[in-house]
């Protein structure tokens, strides 16, 4: 495999993803960690674009970078808000954490190498937009039921969260 522009782009994004992820788990300043997590999630979106999954990439940014991470940052700022707050690093978990990560990595690697239809992916074949296909799949074809079930699950979670966070009104 020759090392062209494509490979360069891929490795830049891969390096950004892994590098910023390492910073997330090692840095002691919590806001720096959150900022670094933003880089990670953003680079993953870049990898999706590289795989021509345009819809997935945009959704990744909308949901994770624009939604969840802002909420995390919001929570961090609400609770600590101090510049001098440092995270306590537990060195004891390094071994077990590393072991679990390694096992997950081996599992994923074996899934990737053993899945037959991923071996003969036609490189650069489908440049057409994925939005139409995704819409058809979710709203018309085989994924309609899982989609609706997921939406009900989310609705239940939403109602639960609203119920828990409500202020209790005491009758006096």
């Amino acid at each position: 495999m020759e090392f062209g522009l494509k490979q360069l782009v891929f490795y830049v994004f891969a390096l950004l993803t892994v590098g910023s992820a390492v910073i997330v788990v090692t840095i002691r300043n919590i806001v720096y960690a959150a900022f670094s997590l933003m880089m990670t999630l953003f680079s993953v979106a870049g990898l999706y674009v590289f795989l021509q999954a345009d819809f997935l990439a945009a959704t990744q940014v909308v949901v994770y970078v624009g939604g969840i991470l802002v909420l995390i940052l919001f929570g961090v700022m609400m609770t600590s808000g101090r510049l001098d707050m440092k995270l306590k690093m537990e060195r004891g978990q390094l071994f077990w954490g590393g072991l679990v990560s390694l096992l997950i990595f081996i599992l994923l690697l074996s899934v990737i190498t053993n899945t037959p239809q991923w071996k003969n992916v036609d490189e650069g074949a489908s440049l057409e937009p994925t939005t139409h296909q995704i819409g058809e799949m979710i709203m018309r074809q085989e994924f309609l039921l899982p989609f609706e079930v997921t939406s009900i699950l989310l609705l239940v979670a939403l109602i639960g969260a609203a119920l828990i966070s409500r202020k209790e009104v005491r009758e006096e």
């Binding site: 806001v31 940014v61 909308v62 700022m77 808000g81 937009p129």
Partner: protein, 402 residues
């Protein structure tokens, strides 16, 4: 895109330069326009000392910002403090890549679309990138290590998260009828059929109102400028910023407004179409005319931004949240349901347009009434002048005497 590669690269570069230059000049024009229009609204002249009619005022402002001392307070988190103003400029500059600012122009036999990149997920891209705008505010506010900045940042985050939802939901009706996420396709479709009744503003009028309101909130403009309310927070999230760093926050706000207006024009006001005027002239001139139409529409929308700012007072924070969550969000959901149902059964844009307004009016009316009529919680005795007077005996006697 069947342009030869070298034409594609050169035309793209020119378009990028053009769009960024236009955005920067637009910011300068907006700064002057804001001051002039506010002057007219308040019955005064506005800037008129620098250059004829105050035309060089933005230039003077820019030079002033550049020449000022660039202060970095000692108690800030340096790295993030420096990087935050840059972060807030990125979304504003990047979103203009997918906005179609005209039909297409034919130069030397090549038909060049007047848009930097027509990607298939245009709208999603814009929603994704604009959601990054909050980072510049939050990180800047946090790094400043100042209570006022911090409060401004918190307000801004809550506000932006809240109004992203109605903003996104208001677009869904438009997407359902156009069947495409590409901004270019949406604009082209509005140019077909009877003009101007095929513009999305007539088909999705409630959605347009929700989109505009949310755009005001997302750009931190009055009446939703709680994140930088001078009277309450000194300056808000940019209190600690000075010189060019402050100018970057300032510019980003105007850039967001310009891009927001351009997107609103593309989505709802028919893009570059205006009663067939965009087809007048040859393949070269029609492109320029279509750009002119788009430009004027955007300018008109921006004037609306300024007009509203100098007309409406600021919302209270709970009012802001109530408006977003209890009024705009349900109405946006209603318009989605109505649009989907009517379109599925009748395929008639007229019916969609009419029923959307009726449904939004009913739901919005009921919700607004409920919000207004809701029993306010009993206020804590605030020991104000009135309660003091109430307690003083002379006032009591006088009152009972009548």
């Amino acid at each position: 895109m069947d342009l030869p590669l070298h034409v594609l690269i050169i035309s793209s570069l020119i378009k990028i330069l053009f769009a960024v230059a236009l955005l920067l000049i637009g910011v300068m024009a907006m700064i002057l326009a804001e001051r002039k229009v506010s002057g007219w609204i308040q019955d005064r002249h506005g800037p008129n000392r620098v250059g004829p009619w105050g035309l060089l005022q933005p230039l003077a402002d820019g030079i002033k910002f550049l020449m000022k001392e660039d202060l970095i307070p000692t108690h800030v988190d340096r790295a993030i403090y420096v990087i935050a103003p840059a972060i807030i400029l990125v979304p504003a500059l990047v979103t203009c890549a997918v906005v179609p600012f005209g039909s297409s122009i034919t130069i030397a036999g090549h038909e060049i679309p007047l848009q930097i990149s027509d990607i298939n997920i245009g709208i999603l891209y814009i929603l994704a990138i604009t959601s990054l705008g909050v980072y510049g505010v939050v990180l800047g506010a946090w790094a400043s290590n100042n209570k006022y900045s911090f409060l401004g940042g918190l307000r801004s985050t809550a506000q932006m998260i809240s109004y992203e939802l109605p903003l996104g939901l208001s677009i869904i009706g438009v997407l359902m009828l156009s069947g495409s996420l590409s901004l270019r396709q949406i604009a082209i479709q509005q140019g077909q059929g009877p003009q101007p009744w095929n513009w999305n503003i007539f088909i999705h009028f409630p959605a347009f109102l929700i989109f505009t309101t949310s755009a005001f909130a997302e750009t931190n403009r009055l009446p939703f400028d709680l994140a930088e309310a001078e009277q309450e927070l000194i300056g808000g999230y940019h209190t600690e910023y000075s010189s060019m760093k402050f100018a970057m926050y300032f510019m980003a706000e105007y850039m967001h407004m310009i891009v927001g207006s351009a997107v609103a024009v593309t989505l709802f006001l028919g893009g570059w179409h205006f009663f067939g005027l965009e087809k007048v002239g040859g393949p070269f001139w029609s492109g320029l005319i279509s750009f002119g139409i788009f430009f004027l529409k955007t300018a008109l929308f921006l004037f609306g931004f300024i007009w509203v700012r100098w007309t409406l007072p600021r919302f209270r924070y709970d009012q802001l949240m109530n408006l977003g969550w209890k009024l705009l969000l349900p109405v946006a959901l209603t318009t989605i349901v109505v649009t989907a149902t009517v379109w599925a059964f009748t395929q008639s844009t007229v019916l969609v347009g009419v029923l959307n307004v009726v449904a939004a009016f009913i739901v919005g009316g009921v919700l607004a009434t409920a919000l207004v009529m809701r029993r306010e919680p009993e206020p804590v005795d605030d020991r104000g002048v009135l309660s003091f007077m109430e307690e003083s005996s002379s006032y009591k006697e006088e009152k009972h005497g009548n």
